[in-house]
């Protein structure tokens, strides 16, 4: 059963500290995870006899949302006025501090300390300053909330974000070179955030990837989808991480084929060629200059990295090898003199001279 507290709250703009006494928490560990809050309407300065629910603050420590605030509808509770309900034996204080939050919000910080340490908690929540609505309003609000949630979901979709995909397939490996045999092939990309797609055999591979391994003779590729406003479009590119392409192989460039589900053509290019990995990556990032894109891109990449790197500690040959397939500079190519140090001289050049300038 939920325990409901009632707090007289004179004015939502009158922030301060309040004590709430609980007569019903005698040593029982409870989940204190939920508040239901209702505030006085604007302009009402104090509680009167015809007080309505809107003028009280309900704090529901119940486990379910249905326990409150119905019990207090239409009247002030005896709990508030009747000292009998305030048991001295099991008295416990809930300290509540309410301060101004952002517009139409209040920040509520509370903590409870009990003699037997039960029910001890400390949290800060943000609540709607306007309080809860009646049933009709509630329904309307729920509908509005649903619409808002949908809009928010869409909005989220429009925000810069990234989704991790993993694809797998059996591959044929050239035993001599260790390279994937060259050719065009199709991949089925699996959005790991959509559970049903896991059932296409990728799930077990993904779990394996998380452990740092994929199965022999299989390939696991990662790609990201990055979307940035204002263009409604997704751009897909190959992953940052190198794949099981062998030490002599250039990183592949993936080209998305507009089919459903999307398929990709993999080209093993030369990093110095006009097309290829570098070109693809360059295209990928060049739109992100400027603070808005920079910020968005940073967030997007953070997400990608956070998720992707969990399973990217390679152990086997066929894994996300973090080998650098770019052309690396060698020191002998940087200088004609090949880093031979200049001749060391030992002569002393100490001098000192002063000339009078002005008097």
């Amino acid at each position: 059963m939920a325990i409901t507290y009632q707090l007289r709250f004179r004015n939502p703009d009158e922030y301060g500290s309040y004590d709430i006494k609980d007569s019903n928490c005698s040593g029982i560990k409870r989940k204190h995870d939920r508040f239901l809050i209702k505030y006085a309407k604007d302009g009402v300065q104090d509680i009167v006899e015809a007080v309505t629910i809107a003028k009280t603050l309900y704090i529901d420590f119940g486990d379910t949302a249905t326990d409150a605030p119905g019990a207090f509808t239409g009247a002030e509770s005896d709990i508030w006025y009747n000292p009998d309900h305030w048991s001295a034996r099991d008295l416990r204080n809930l300290n509540l501090t309410i301060s101004a939050g952002r517009e139409n919000k209040v920040n509520i910080r509370y903590y409870a300390v009990n003699s037997d340490k039960t029910c001890t908690t400390a949290k800060t929540i943000t609540a709607d300053k306007a309080g809860l609505l009646d049933d009709a309003e509630k329904e309307a609000a729920e509908a509005a909330a649903e619409a808002a949630a949908q809009a928010a979901f869409e909005e989220i979709e429009r925000d810069p974000h990234a989704t991790l995909y993993v694809a797998s397939m059996n591959v044929s490996i050239n035993s001599e070179t260790g390279l994937i045999n060259q050719g065009a092939f199709k991949l089925r990309w699996n959005d790991l955030e959509k559970v049903p797609l896991w059932n296409s055999g990728v799930r077990s591979k993904y779990i394996a990837i998380q452990k740092g391994e994929v199965e022999d003779n299989s390939v696991a590729l990662m790609k990201e989808q990055v979307w940035l406003p204002p263009v409604w479009d997704f751009k897909t590119y190959n992953s940052y991480a190198d794949l099981n392409t062998g030490k002599h192989q250039q990183s592949p460039t993936l080209t998305r084929v507009p089919t459903d589900p999307p398929t990709f053509r993999v080209n093993y290019g030369n990093s110095n060629a006009p097309v290829g990995e570098e070109k693809g990556l360059k295209n990928k990032y060049k739109r992100f200059r400027g603070s808005t894109y920079t910020t968005g891109m940073a967030l997007a990449i953070d997400d990608i990295v956070k998720v992707a790197m969990k399973g990217m500690r390679p152990k086997s040959e066929f894994n996300f090898k973090q080998v650098d397939t770019n052309t690396r500079f060698k020191k002998e190519f940087l200088s004609l003199f090949n880093r031979v140090p200049a001749t060391t001289e030992t002569i002393d050049t100490t001098t000192s001279a002063t000339t009078m300038m002005s008097r």
């Binding site: 991480a241 940073a298 990449i301 953070d302 992707a308 003199f337 001289e345 001098t351 001279a353």
Partner: protein, 896 residues
């Protein structure tokens, strides 16, 4: 000289191989070298460097008649090298009158013995560097102030500001185990432009302060640090004023902010950081980096830096002008390499790699340490003279540098972060995130910035307008064209305590790295992470990109005569044959141009081995060269200082006598108002003198400079010194402290309220003189101005006792032992030569000749015993005391 010592110190860094006497013997032989010249001026040896010019086709050594470069034969030495690299042949023609034979000619180049004489080789194939460059170094402010009529415009100041006395804060940070845990000016200032939002899960997020309240990515450890692990959420308003209302007037003050009233004295001292936050901060803030964006934010406009800084209780400040390239317009030239770095979004990566390289964190990119001649020209003076001196010094000095091309290649090859002990001030963005990438997720970001910068640098070097060598005199062998250089970054290194040993080996508390942004002229560095009264040494470095060259000679071929008589009288030419002097085998000449009138063309058996020449001896070799772009670490200035409060004011004294038989006298002590014309207070003991030295040093004050500021903390103590013997100086009062009065108001332990008036009574003996001296100490026990000395005596004439108070000033203390140590003797005694000693003797003068020719024939004096140039001793003996004075007199003639 591109710079004027009237504005700045002019610094030249010169390779030692450019000096005469170096292993580059060829240079010493033909000219184009620096040399040391010594002269004696007023019996003092003076030395300076000068440059021996290389005259094109007129070498210094008598063995050579000519040096002929063939830049038309220039070719790329190695195709595989990414930077441009060339070689072209140089021909040396021997002088037939000086060179004795073919064998002698060979020995001149490769060394050996000839006719019992050892001949040192002029030629070698060593690799030499040419990085000689000239740049400006700011005058230290204290030196600039000492220069009479100073017009120095380029100064560097390292000093401190003490603004606000927060005893709890001072005491608390004094106990912290690391300065890095002290609130940082840049971090807190940066957060003032953001919003803060506390989430339900006890997280504090930074927002963009707009209606949308969008999250701005910010380093979570830094947020924990400044919000004290969440105990102080509204860090974004901490620099706001707390208005003070007096009557109807509301005033604001930089001393009265949330920072000074809430955050520092209360929240900060009451909420120690968690161990995890401390560890993270001590790691990250070891190196604080201000990239181009951060510099523009802080220094791009307005004077917000100064405004915000004044709200902090105290800090070290370093002010100086950032180097700008010199150009024809008043705005200067456009920086080349700084632009490459910024345009390619390489700033953050560049600064981090620079940090890693010069702090020894990268084995693969450790700086080279090499010795150079460091030549400095400047104006020198001191405060006790009005004479300025033009000074020039040279010394061997070690400099560190990294090859910029290697650095770019390193960054390209190593896209994963090696270190995380640094923090880029400001919100997170993709460039700042990328440099901390340890798993390759930002590989593209990290590699494309460096490779694009490298492309730009190589393009720059390939442009012959920027770098080209066509003969020895064009660049390598002359002094009028120092290498192009450009300051791209700076470092402020903070070391705890006084300097010990080499600056690089001391324990560095913290480094600040910042880019030389083209949008910032004056840099006002603020360091609030300091404890009160602790010594800190600051080293300021600049990092200069220098476009120099590496070069070497190779493929030497020399000639010998073809046949015994190889001279063609008809054509006045010699028949010569080239050979390799190491193997003595025939070899083809290098300086061959198709169509030349050579053996190959005029004789069917002729090859490139043979040559007709107007010179009897020839030698060919290649000059191989390539540009070298290096980043040099150049120290600008170092100073040790400590944060100190200002001395308190003086005391007005009002003496009085108790009109009873108690034999008590007393003094009313009134804390005086601030006198901004006063110099630093006179001192009594060693501790005072150390404080004075530290304060004057920190504030760059000359001895006659007035005190710029009043004591910030209130006067806390009044000290009363007493002597029973007349002092000769203030130092005599040392160890004679009679009493110290504590001015703190009773019951005000929790406040800093103190009295400014107090009274001191003293019971003294009658008919005995006492000397009293008074002064104030502030809360930091810094002594204030000394009062006058009160010579006090309670006179008892047998019945009535009355006090006499005489005031003595500092100048009254010296006893007049030598009040008038000299008398003008002329009034008492005058020694004059007899006229016979003064008449002109013209017996030997020939008046037919010009006067100046006869001067030596003119004799002075007609006496047989002339006094000139003879010494006389005149002894004066007092009849009264018998004391003697000897006058030693020599009569000399002088022309006037």
């Amino acid at each position: 000289m591109a710079f004027d010592t009237n504005s700045t110190r002019v610094h030249k860094l010169i390779n030692l191989n450019l000096f005469s006497g170096s292993t580059d013997v060829f240079r010493s032989a033909v000219g184009g070298y620096f040399q040391i010249e010594s002269t004696e001026v007023r019996q003092e040896e003076q030395s300076s460097i000068s440059f021996q010019e290389y005259s094109v086709r007129d070498p210094l050594t008598p063995y050579f008649d000519d040096i002929i470069p063939s830049s038309s034969l220039k070719e790329t030495a190695c195709d595989e090298v990414v930077v441009t690299n060339k070689r072209f042949p140089i021909r040396v023609a021997g002088n037939g009158e000086a060179v004795l034979s073919d064998a002698y000619w060979k020995a001149l180049f490769v060394g050996g013995w000839f006719a019992g004489e050892k001949i040192n080789a002029i030629y070698n194939e060593n690799i030499y560097g040419y990085n000689y460059f000239e740049s400006s170094l700011s005058y230290p402010k204290i030196n600039a102030k000492a220069i009479s009529g100073s017009i120095i415009s380029d100064e560097i100041e390292i000093s401190d500001n003490y603004n606000n006395y927060l005893p709890d804060y001072e005491s608390y940070i004094g106990r912290l185990n690391s300065e890095l845990l002290i609130p940082n000016f840049y971090i807190i200032s940066d957060l003032q432009s953001y919003g803060v939002n506390a989430t339900g899960d006890d997280q504090i997020i930074i927002t963009d302060n707009t209606e949308g309240n969008n999250e701005v990515p910010y380093d979570k450890d830094i947020v924990k640090f400044v919000t004290l692990d969440g105990a102080y959420e509204n860090i974004n308003t901490v620099l706001n004023y707390v208005p003070t209302q007096i009557g109807s007037t509301i005033t604001t003050s930089p001393l009265n902010t949330l920072l000074s009233t809430e955050y520092l004295p209360k929240s900060f001292v009451q909420n120690p950081l968690t161990a995890s936050t401390q560890d993270a901060i001590k790691n990250k803030l070891h190196n604080i980096i201000l990239d181009n964006d951060a510099l523009t934010t802080f220094y791009g406009g307005g004077d917000q830096i100064t405004e915000f800084a004044e709200r902090f209780p105290f800090y070290t400040k370093i002010n100086f002008s950032l180097d700008k390239p010199i150009g024809p317009s008043i705005l200067g030239a456009t920086p080349v390499f700084a632009n490459y770095i910024t345009n390619n979004e390489y700033t953050t990566r560049f600064l981090k790699t620079l940090k890693e390289a010069f702090t020894g964190e990268l084995v693969a990119l450790s700086p080279t340490n090499a010795t150079y001649a460091s030549n400095l020209s400047f104006i020198s003076s001191s405060e006790d003279t009005i004479i300025n001196y033009a000074a020039e010094t040279t010394e061997n000095k070690d400099y560190r540098y990294v090859d910029f091309i290697e650095m770019l290649a390193y960054d390209y090859n190593n896209f994963r972060s090696k270190t995380d002990n640094c923090y880029f001030v400001g919100n997170k963005n993709i460039y700042r995130d990328a440099v901390f990438d340890t798993n390759g997720a930002y590989r593209y970001m990290n590699s494309v910035s460096s490779i694009n910068t490298m492309n730009d640098v190589i393009d720059y070097l390939n442009n012959t307008a920027n770098f080209d060598i066509n003969d020895l005199g064009g660049m390598l062998y002359q002094s009028d064209n120092p290498c192009y250089n450009e300051t791209v970054a700076y470092r402020v290194q903070k070391v705890g305590g006084s300097p010990r040993g080499d600056a690089r080996t001391q324990s560095t508390l913290q480094n600040y790295w910042f880019f030389n942004s083209k949008d910032v002229e004056e840099f006002n560095f603020i360091d609030t992470q300091v404890k009160y009264g602790r010594d800190y040494t600051y080293h300021v470095y600049k990092y200069v990109v220098v476009v120099g060259a590496k070069y070497k000679f190779s493929d030497l071929k020399v000639t010998k005569a073809i046949g015994l008589d190889n001279y063609d009288d008809e054509n006045n030419t010699y028949g010569l044959e080239f050979y390799d002097p190491i193997t003595d085998k025939k070899a083809e000449q290098l300086q061959h141009v198709d169509g030349d009138d050579t053996f190959e063309n005029i004789h069917t058996l002729g090859t490139l081995v043979q040559e007709y020449s107007e010179y009897p001896y020839l030698a060919d070799f290649y000059l191989n060269y390539e540009p070298s772009v290096s980043i040099y670490e150049v120290p600008i200035y170092s100073k040790t200082l400590k944060i100190l409060d200002n001395p308190p004011n003086g005391i007005n004294i009002s003496p009085y006598q108790h009109l009873d038989d108690s034999q008590k006298i007393g003094f009313g002590l009134y804390y005086d108002s601030f006198n901004n014309a006063a110099t630093f207070p006179s001192t009594i003991n060693h501790t005072d003198r150390k404080i004075k030295q530290d304060y004057m040093n920190a504030q760059d004050l000359l001895s006659e400079d007035s005190m710029p500021f009043e004591s910030i903390s209130r006067p806390r103590y009044m000290q009363i010194y007493r002597l029973e013997k007349k002092p000769k100086s203030y130092s005599d009062f040392d160890n004679n402290l009679r009493r110290t009065l504590d001015l703190r108001m009773p019951g005000s332990e929790d406040t800093d309220e103190t009295y400014t008036v107090d009274f001191f009574d003293d019971k003294i003996k009658t008919n005995t003189k006492y000397y009293y001296l008074f002064r104030t100490l502030n809360e930091h026990r810094i002594p204030g101005h000394l009062s006058e000395i009160y010579e006090t005596e309670l006179i008892s004439d047998g019945g009535y006792k009355y006090a006499i108070f005489n005031v003595l000033y500092e100048q009254d203390l010296e006893e007049g032992v030598y009040v008038n140590p000299s008398k003008k003797v002329r009034k008492l005694i005058q020694l004059q030569p007899n006229m016979s000693q003064l008449t002109l003797n013209t017996d030997l003068v020939d008046f037919e000749q010009e006067a100046h020719t006869q001067l030596q024939n003119l004799k002075i004096g007609s006496s047989d015993d002339l006094i000139w140039n003879k010494k006389f001793k005149v002894r004066l003996t007092s009849k009264k005391t018998g004391k003697k004075i000897d006058l030693n007199i020599t009569y000399k003639l002088r022309s006037s």
